[in-house]
């Protein structure tokens, strides 16, 4: 009983800070009803003296299916059951409920929060112990994804966003939260792609560009922007800071599907680069349920190719040796169903493994500062020399 009293004490101030009600959109109402359903499940189970549980769709390679017709990754039906009265899952169950509560508060207040912000809001000592509800953000992030897939809600619908990462520049004018932004007049920094780019936040006002060039990271993007590649070739230039966050992927998806712009990717020649391409093209395994809104099956892989070391006559100094993880990862990627039947891709990955080294885009820059923007990329585009 002492325990009960203590926890009541701890929780009562939270109850007093009643969230102010905001106007709810139909989407918010749907998310709220799903959240309530989650909580009701616990109440019903407790009333019947049963073990409360949540069924969470499994986020694993084994539970995704590649649809050859749609050419995207789809989520399977398998779920894992998270129980409160299981020693290994008790804490995760509690954390799931906390995240659901945090999301509910955000929707009620009509505000959105970063995932780090949510982690801070939910972080706290468990009553009568020294244990934190969440120790670090990496404990919280997978739980947020669990709630996302369980509710089949998008992160935006849960009023959550990640750190914005990635930038855009090019012949396009967008309206972001009511402000017109001309992406051809963004200087050297470019337009930072926000985390939420849904049509109710961002609209495309005017676009003259003919295609989208997506590069892996900011340094390469800087090179292209400085050489005004997008002006010369009339395109939109984006980067995603490595693995592109959802905002960038969603934006690429909208550019491709709404404005019918082809998407070309210029990524590093290593398993990591291949996987980035795979995520842009087919969707990620982790968030397979969002593939229909994210994946661009027609995205193309411009380079860098493993044949480029000989083709472009690069010097030995640019080689970086593959390590064991790289080799393992490369073989794994080669066996993905969406790569398994593509002979050019099998040749590409085999060549990488035979080379025994990887190449970054910077390898081309080391040959000549503008080699990649003035010769390499235009030549690939002109010759339609890409992997699909």
């Amino acid at each position: 009983m002492a325990k009960k009293k203590a926890s009541r004490r701890k929780l009562s101030p939270v109850t007093q800070r009643a969230p102010m009600k905001a106007k709810l959109t139909p989407r918010d109402k749907r998310t709220l009803s799903q959240l309530t359903g989650l909580a009701d499940g616990v109440v019903v189970a407790a009333r019947q003296r049963r073990d409360p549980h949540v069924d969470i769709p499994a986020r694993a390679l084994s539970n995704v299916r590649y649809s050859p017709r749609k050419r995207i990754i789809e989520m399977g039906k398998r779920t894992t059951r998270r129980k409160l009265f299981d020693l290994a899952q008790a804490k995760a169950f509690m954390q799931t409920m906390l995240v659901a509560r945090g999301v509910k508060d955000l929707i009620d207040q009509g505000k959105s929060n970063s995932i780090r912000g949510l982690f801070y809001t939910l972080r706290g000592k468990i009553a009568d112990t020294n244990e934190h509800t969440f120790d670090q953000q990496s404990d919280c992030d997978p739980i947020i994804e669990d709630v996302e897939v369980t509710l089949a809600s998008l992160r935006e619908e849960m009023h959550l966003f990640a750190d914005p990462k990635g930038a855009m520049v090019g012949n396009i004018v967008v309206t972001d939260s009511g402000d017109d932004i001309d992406c051809s007049r963004m200087g050297s920094g470019g337009y930072a792609i926000p985390s939420i780019v849904e049509p109710d936040i961002m609209q495309f006002k005017q676009c003259n560009a003919r295609f989208v060039l997506h590069v892996e990271k900011g340094t390469v993007w800087q090179r292209f922007n400085e050489d005004k590649f997008w002006r010369k070739h009339n395109c939109i230039l984006t980067h995603g800071g490595g693995q592109p966050p959802r905002g960038v992927r969603r934006l690429l998806h909208r550019l491709h599907h709404e404005l019918k712009l082809p998407v070309y990717c210029l990524l590093d020649n290593d398993p990591w680069g291949y996987y980035i391409y795979s995520v842009i093209k087919q969707g990620s395994i982790n968030l397979a349920f969002e593939s229909t809104r994210m994946a661009i099956p027609d995205a193309r892989f411009l380079g860098i190719r493993s044949i480029d070391f000989e083709r472009c006559g690069l010097s030995d100094s640019v080689k970086i040796d593959l390590n064991d993880t790289d080799r393992k990862r490369a073989r794994q990627i080669a066996s993905y169903p969406w790569f398994a039947h593509k002979k050019p891709w099998q040749r590409e990955i085999k060549k990488l493994l035979d080379n025994g080294f990887k190449l970054e885009v910077e390898a081309l820059i080391s040959k000549d500062i503008s080699y990649v923007t003035e010769e390499y990329t235009p030549a690939r585009l002109k010759n339609k020399d890409w992997l699909d």
Binding site: A6, S7, A39, L87, A127
Partner: protein
């Protein structure tokens, strides 16, 4: 050259080589003196069939910084007048050397050597007061040893001693001569003045008496230390251990030289009669086989057997199968009394004991007994601040770390380091140089630091109920404890080290002839037969400890399981309440019920892997004592009255 060669008296030899007898330094001299006197006293009482009650007084003597007076009195039968000077004033005089029988002292140099040491260091004679009966007069002697001739000299009463008549006149005489005597109907008191040093902690008189009390539950001990602290260890049982029988030597146990000597001295006319009457387990048939093996006629005259034939007989003995000696000459303590003794003195929550059946090494019967106590706090936990200050002053350790590790049992250097860290004391600081504030912090730290983890097993060794306090490393008992795999029994142990944990193990070897590695009788030699028995006995108690620990760990695990759930229920209820507005407290109460149901099911039905199992009652067999730790804590918390229940330990 030849002129300077002459006899060396035994007394002279030992006066020069006193370390051989355990008088290496003043500290050990005090212990050895008390030890010899107490051993003799208990033996005397047991032989007379009297439940021993021993009084030990150690006093500082004002005449010098290291002068002490040791008085040991027993309630034994007393000693005959004419024997007194010989027993206490002549080295190598005793009743125990020439017989094969289990007894405490063996060589008969002990008490007289202590007297000699006292005489050498203080010049004071040994005083003996002995009383045979209430009605008969008692005798009071002051004795010196003539080291040249190994012979006693009576100093008082013109070489005749003083007779103390019974009754009131006697009381007056006692007062007149300044005799120390606790009024008793019969008994002996020996008082020796010597140069010594009193120190508490490991290897101290206090430790010796405590350990003696564990292995001798039938002995009552009253002890007063130089600071006037009194400690009483009452007898736990009122039955004397059975009197060990004297046996003849077993043929396997003798050496060639001994055989030749025996042949020379025997009165038996023929070799067959010699073999059957001088040795145990030699029947005429066995004797005939030996003679056949040696190629000697069974009727050969013993006087005619020469060195060569003796050698043949000796070799034939080794080849002939002779049954083991009878083992009823050994009196073990017994499992029940070991448990009682341990429980009385070593705090703990689990006790187990094992007495092995008797076995034989080199023709000598012996028996191994092991007792184990688990869960007791270290002495470091119990020490009072005053006692700590005193120990710090007395210690000759160079650093505080060394002081902690050497003074307290079962306190490893690791735990010492942790205490020092907690006390924020410098590792290398000298124990004598601590300031008031530092001592307070140290005392606080010693009470608070969890020293269980760094605590090593405390091994108490006994030979014929006498504690062995020194040369632990060279003793086969310690070595066998170290080489036993205690990890199998739930204790952590590094290879070749003593296991860790709050464990005390007492190992008792009872034998007609305990094979010591040296005259100071501190370490048992490692015969394979002895090691084997030791190992089996240790494993037997180890198995029981293992079962107990596993069960305890499991219960703890279940408790943690329930706690884990309970911890998160409040959070879950709170979150659900915020989402759908259901009643938080009601939900919490309901979840609590589910949790109780779930974990109670798990308590009885599920094992580690979640499979249902039938939980058998923990069956540890007999000879195990489990004490509820909370019960124990309550007992300790209660103020204890005089020596009535439990040993009152001033330090506690």
């Amino acid at each position: 050259m030849a002129a300077s060669q002459r006899d060396i008296s035994v007394s002279e030899f030992f006066a020069k080589n006193r370390h051989l007898l355990g008088f290496d330094n003043p500290r050990k001299a005090l212990l050895t003196t008390v030890k010899e006197a107490v051993d003799n006293a208990i033996d005397a009482c047991e032989e007379a069939g009297i439940l021993p009650e021993i009084w030990i007084h150690i006093q500082r003597n004002g005449q010098g910084p290291n002068r002490y007076k040791v008085g040991v009195q027993d309630n034994g039968p007393g000693i005959l007048k004419k024997q007194i000077p010989l027993i206490f004033g002549k080295l190598l005089y005793g009743s125990k050397f020439h017989r094969l029988r289990m007894s405490r002292g063996q060589q008969g140099i002990g008490i007289s050597a202590a007297g000699m040491y006292g005489l050498l260091t203080t010049g004071k004679p040994v005083t003996i007061m002995s009383k045979v009966s209430v009605r008969k007069p008692a005798h009071y002697y002051e004795i010196q040893i003539d080291t040249k001739h190994n012979r006693p000299e009576i100093v008082n009463g013109r070489g005749e001693g003083v007779v103390v008549s019974p009754g009131a006149a006697g009381a007056k005489a006692i007062e007149k001569h300044g005799i120390e005597w606790i009024d008793a109907n019969h008994g002996t008191r020996v008082t020796i003045e010597l140069e010594a040093k009193y120190q508490r902690g490991r290897g101290s008189v206090d430790e010796y008496l405590e350990q003696t009390a564990i292995a001798n539950p039938h002995v009552a001990i009253h002890y007063e230390d130089p600071d006037g602290n009194q400690r009483h260890y009452p007898a736990v049982t009122d039955t004397l251990p059975p009197e060990p029988r004297e046996i003849k030597p077993h043929p396997y146990g003798i050496e060639l030289g001994m055989l030749v000597g025996m042949l020379k001295n025997t009165k038996e006319p023929t070799i067959t009669q010699f073999l059957t009457r001088s040795f145990s387990r030699v029947s005429p048939a066995v004797a005939r086989r030996i003679c056949e093996g040696a190629g000697v006629s069974p009727r050969a005259r013993t006087k005619k057997i020469g060195r060569h034939e003796a050698d043949l007989v000796y070799q034939a003995i080794q080849k002939t199968k002779i049954s083991n000696p009878s083992t009823d000459c050994i009196a073990p303590i017994g499992e029940e009394l070991i448990l009682k003794g341990l429980h009385q003195i070593v705090p703990g929550e689990f006790y187990a004991a094992a007495t092995r059946p008797p076995a034989v090494y080199r023709g000598n019967p012996f028996q191994i007994e092991v007792g184990l106590a688990y869960g007791g706090g270290s002495t470091a936990h119990r020490v009072s601040r005053e006692a700590l200050v005193e120990m710090l002053e007395q210690s000759d350790a160079r650093t505080l770390r060394q002081f902690l590790a050497t003074t307290f049992d079962g306190l490893g250097t690791e735990a010492a380091d942790r205490i020092l860290k907690e006390a924020r004391a410098k590792t290398r600081i000298s124990p004598g140089k601590l300031r008031e504030k530092d001592v307070n912090r140290l005392h606080e730290a010693m009470r608070n630091v969890n020293i269980h983890d760094g605590q090593t097993m405390n091994v108490l060794r006994y030979a014929n109920r006498v504690p062995l306090q020194f040369q632990a490393g060279g003793c086969t008992i310690t070595q066998t404890v170290m080489t036993t795999n205690w990890r199998a029994y739930g204790l952590s142990q590094s290879r070749g080290q003593l296991p860790r944990g709050p464990v005390t193990v007492m190992v008792h070897m009872a034998s007609v002839w305990v094979p010591f590695t040296s005259e100071s009788k501190e370490a048992v030699a490692g015969y394979p037969e002895i090691q084997k028995e030791l190992r089996l006995a240790l494993q037997s108690v180890g198995r029981k400890l293992g079962m107990y620990l596993r069960r305890r760990r499991k219960v703890k695990h279940e408790g943690e399981r329930r706690n884990t759930f309970l911890r998160y229920l409040g959070e879950v209820a709170g979150a659900v309440h915020r989402i759908n507005g259901s009643d938080r407290d009601e939900l919490y109460a309901q979840l609590l019920l589910v949790a109780k149901k779930k974990t109670s099911e798990a308590d009885v039905k599920l094992d580690d892997r979640g499979r249902p199992v039938d939980e058998p009652e923990l069956d540890l067999g007999k000879n195990v004592l489990i004490v509820d730790p909370e019960e124990r804590a309550r007992q300790v918390a209660l103020p204890q009255g005089g020596g009535e229940e439990g040993a009152t330990d001033e330090r506690r």
